[in-house]
Structure formats: C-alpha cells, structure tokens
Symmetry: C2
Subunit: 355 residues, 2 copies
C-alpha cells in the first residue's frame, strides 16, 4: 500500500485540469492533453502516486527535449479481427495505450476476444488504468509492459538488463469491487529504495542483493546491487516472459536496448505494451458469472484471519476504496511534488499555479 | 530443478507403453490410454517427475473408485471463432486438456488467437505439456489451472482455501530452445515439503508459515501451517487471478469447493483449466520474430554472471536439455516409484512388470 503521506489535498478534477493545461502548454493537442491527464489522475485516485501527476515534470522534460512526438500518427500496421499491432509513432504512452485499449474493447465486443500489441510507445502510467477499461463492457482485461529502465539482473547474473516488467489483470464482479491485480515482477520498486535512502532507513532483506549475491540493506549502496524478482527464479522467468510478450513480439525494446528514461530524455524509447480484452459471456452468462465472483470474493474475505489481521483484502480492493475516498476528499500530494508542479506551472505560465 | 535421484533408468517409449497398457487395463479406451500415457511421459522427460508416471498409482485409485468417467463425452458447450467452453464430462484431465489444446490451435490457426476454458476436468499433469503444444505451429501458448488441493491461505488468513495455482507460458524461438515458463504461484510445492519430512531435513525459511505467521521450518509440522505465495501479497494476487480465470470463468471449482484429490478419490473434481494459443505472425513475420528471440536469449545468457554461477539459464532451458538427455539415456525412476508401478502391474496382471 502507498502510504497516505501528509500533504496538500487537491480535488481530482482540479489536478486533471491542471495536468491537461500543462500538457497543452507543452504543445500537445488539447484532446491528447486531456486524455493523458485523465489517465494520470486515474493512477493517483488508485493511490499509485508514483505513476500519476507526480510524473508530469519528467514528461515535461522529455517533451521539451524533443523526446516525444506531440503529433503522432498512432495507427495499426498489422490487423485482423482479434489482434493488431499498433505503431505509437513515439507519442505519449497514455495516448498510444488508450488507442490500443479502445481497439481491444471494440474487437472483443465483436469477436469475443482481442490481443493488441504496441511498439514505438512511451511510459503510459499505471497498468491497472488500462486493464480496467474493459470491465465496463463485462470483459476481463490483461496488460503487460516492458519497464522503461533496467534495475534487475537475470537469475544468477549481475548485469542490469531487465526491468520491473509489470502485469495487470482485471476481472469484473457483481456487487463486489472488481478483482484487479497490478504488480511488478520485482519484490519492490526502485522508487521505494530511493525513498528509503532519502529517509535514511535500511531496506528489508529480500528487496535487493549485491553483485556477490549478498543481501543489500543500505539503500545508499543501491547502485552496487539490483532488485530481486518475486519468488527468485520464478519471478525472473515471469519477468522475461512479460518482456517477450510485450516487447519482442511487438518489435519493441527489451533487454540492453531499453532506454533508461530517467537518464536519457531524448532517445526514442520504443516502449512496448500489450492489452487483451475478453468478454466473460464467451464462457458464462454475465449475471451468473458475477454472482459466482461475488460468492468467491466473499468466501476469501470471510475466511479465518491470522492474529492481528483486521481484514483480508482481495487484489485491487484497497485501491477500490481509495478511489472512493480520494474522489470525496481529494488527492494528497507530498510537498516536494506540489513544489515541482508549481515550478512547472510558473515555467509554462499557467493560470492555475496550484496555490 | 528436480534432482536426478539415483534410480532405475527406463526408455521413455517403454514407460509410455507401460502407462498406456495400465490405463487400458483400468478400462480406458486404447486411444485415450495412449494419449494420457504420452502426456505423462512428456512431463517425465522434462524432469517434472511429480507430474508424470509417478501419478499412475493415484490415477488408478481414482479410476477404480469410480471417480473418473472412462468414456466421457468431451464437448464444447459454448463456442465462437476464437473462444470455447469445454465440458470435460469428468474424463481424465489429459484427455480433456488435449482436446482443448488441439481446439485452441485449430481456432488460432484460422483466426490468429484463441482462448479455451474447460470445466468438469481432472488433474492433467504438467502445465508446460499443454502450453508447448502450440509452439510447433509458431504460436505462443498460455495455460493456467486451479490446483487439485488447497495448501495455501489468503494473504493475512489461516484457512487453506487456495491451491498452488500454476501458470505456464511458451514462446517459440529460432535456433535457441523455446522459452517456457511453468511455475506454481507458491514458493514451493507441498510435495517438496513431504519429501523433506521423509528425509528428516528442515525446510528453508520462506517456504511455509504457521497460523501465527511465524516461519515453519520443521516439515513434520506442515499440517500446522501453509505454503507461502511467491512475492507475498503479489503471488497471492496472481494465485487468485489464476483461480478466477481457470476456475470461476469456466464454472469450475475454486476455493472451498475444490476437492482434495489426495484425500477423496471419488467425488467429481470439476477441475478447471484454460489454454490460449496465439500466432506470432499476427505481430511479426515468423522468421524475424525468431531471430529477435534468439538475439534476446543470447544476450541474457551471455550477460555477466555472479561469482560461482556457471551459466545463466532461460526459462525452460534446463528442461529442454533434460528432454534430450532422457530421450537418449532413459527416464530415472526412484525405487519407491518403481515398486509402486510394479505393484500396479501385478494387480492389473500386465505382461510388462517393469522388471
């Protein structure tokens, strides 16, 4: 869970308008600026604070450096009734993935199932934002991507040639919240390690190892080591498979040709993503499927808990309630994030300075 | 890796014929008996010794007890060009999954992509056996199933209502072996815990915890605790998602309604599986895709290794070489397995007693 850091609270709609205004001032067409901002705020509402408006300054850097095509021709280069390969033309990742996900939903609505791959894209924010779009159509969604920086080594290796390659799967339910998995295949993110370093705290054994395979617990030494995959060789395998399905299959970057988007804001990322949408009524009538989902969800939640555990959560349930809470009370932003956004607003001479 | 326990070596074809003979003597039609035996030996050749001929005594128990329909009408109950729901009619799992996988390949050959769900099935052996069948058609394969016994609790819970729910994904390559992931979503299997108990050895911290959340390292106490998921809450989430996609979506068992096939050999399992097949030429020309897979595989393998590590393995690569080795030298069976199979041969009055 992301901690609710003490900070300023902003209404979601205000942050979305701010983001759209900033991206438009940076040169994005208004429609694309609005769309990117909406997908970013979707992440903030879920509590994936590292993948929302927090990224605006970084996106701005890349746009100013010419690392993003502001007027991409996002288009399919191969297509049949149930699959497509989409060329993102180096546009904003959110624009490319929104296009791909809407295409997946349209094809799945007609044919029952669709798998869309993309290349020539960029960082698109939180995976669940896309895997969840099919839910409203009574479809399962699945999303994978190749991460935009390599902080992991192959199992037994010491070279950083793999990323946190995440997977997200969303399954509709009835009265219960949808079940939404959204995980990196590393035990933790590099962002959490950097945060611990800032706070002067040690990191737990199991997060990182050094080049000799020894546990690395001093986050200031993070450049001497690498993130560990979940489940050891199992997570390494899952990570590689995701890289191949979201990267290699789409002619996108994977391995050494991944551009570290933190260090290089100019070079084309050729970021690869995939999105699948599948109607549940291929298999079960929608209503009885949802009833059975509710039954299983309640069975898991109501099962006996460990001492000291208040509640058993289903995947995505915490985020479901956080969306409600944040829509009502606003999105908390840490002071450093607010200060960075204000600086951007000043640079771009926006009317809203988030004061 | 499964250890190559010292034991008798049998040619794969001999074991396959033995398995087919035993299953036919148990009442399976000859074609189904041969098919089940072939899928079991596929697992033994890969080194998944726990999912091959080792299971024959257990299958035999279930068949004798009337827990398997020997003459099932395996058929689709819902179908379109790219999906199908298959009723396994309580047949042998291998028969049901072979039917579903061949159907997936046929549909994907025509339409590019197919996802088949099954219910009313049984234990089908090793996942990679099915996820790899599409490889020969230049397709990606993906397989998931709900395990046939619950040895895991929800995250924060203490009730055993989840299984080891595995996933397998296979991706074709060119000159290199295909990349094949086949993992349970628990850190280890219950079988390995039982093996450690037999040997009187402790199990590592991280395999199991007890009902208070404390590490459980004495395998003789295994009934006081449960298996841990890979990556903590992440593996729990993946486990639940697999249960829903392979179980709930297909109207198959998941959660409390899973029958423990070790304890109950009579009740209908209603085991659920899914198989997906997808042509790589939806996205890339087959030859250039395979070349790029080879390049990425070699890049990972050739990357710098940790001290003391002889080789970096790709997912499924060890198993690839083990298949070659076992085809050449035979499949090693532990003495206890041989003795059980000989006993079965005597009971069934088979001509081959594996002497």
């Amino acid at each position: 869970m992301t901690e609710e850091a003490p900070g300023h609270l902003y209404p979601a709609k205000r942050l979305e308008a701010f983001g759209a205004g900033a991206l438009a001032a940076l040169g994005l067409p208004e429609k694309d600026a609005a769309l990117c901002a909406a997908r970013m705020i979707d992440a903030d509402l879920r509590g994936v604070d590292t993948h929302g408006i927090f990224r605006l300054n970084h996106y701005s850097q890349r746009i100013k450096a010419g690392g993003i095509n502001l007027h991409p021709r996002v288009h399919t280069v191969r297509e049949n009734a149930v699959t497509a390969l989409v060329d993102g033309d180096n546009g904003m990742g959110h624009v490319v993935m929104n296009f791909a996900t809407e295409l997946a939903i349209r094809k799945a609505a007609e044919s029952g199932l669709a798998w869309i791959g993309t290349f020539n894209g960029n960082h698109a924010g939180a995976g669940a934002v896309y895997s969840m779009m099919p839910l409203a159509h009574d479809m399962v969604g699945m999303y994978m991507t190749v991460a935009n920086a390599n902080h992991m080594a192959p199992w037994g290796g010491v070279e950083l040639i793999l990323g946190t390659n995440p997977i997200s799967v969303a399954i509709p339910a009835g009265e219960e919240p949808p079940v939404v998995l959204d995980i990196a295949t590393t035990v933790t993110s590099y962002g959490k390690v950097k945060l611990a370093a800032q706070k002067g705290e040690a990191i737990p054994v199991g997060w990182m190892i050094d080049r000799k395979g020894q546990p690395l617990t001093d986050p200031r030494r993070s450049s001497d080591g690498f993130l560990l995959p979940i489940g050891g060789y199992k997570g390494y395998g899952l990570n590689v498979i995701i890289g191949m399905l979201a990267g290699v299959l789409n002619g996108a970057a994977f391995g050494r040709n991944v551009v570290d988007f933190n260090k290089d804001v100019v070079s084309r990322n050729n970021s690869g993503h995939m999105i699948m949408a599948m109607r549940v009524d291929n298999f079960q009538p929608v209503e009885s499927f949802k009833q059975e989902m509710d039954r299983v969800i309640r069975e898991i939640r109501a099962s006996k808990r460990m001492e000291g555990v208040d509640r058993i959560w289903l995947p995505g349930e915490i985020e479901h309630y956080r969306i409600r809470e944040r829509l009502k009370n606003g999105i908390p932003l840490a002071s450093i994030v607010v200060s960075n956004l204000r600086q951007l607003a000043a640079e771009l001479n926006l009317s809203d300075r988030l004061e």
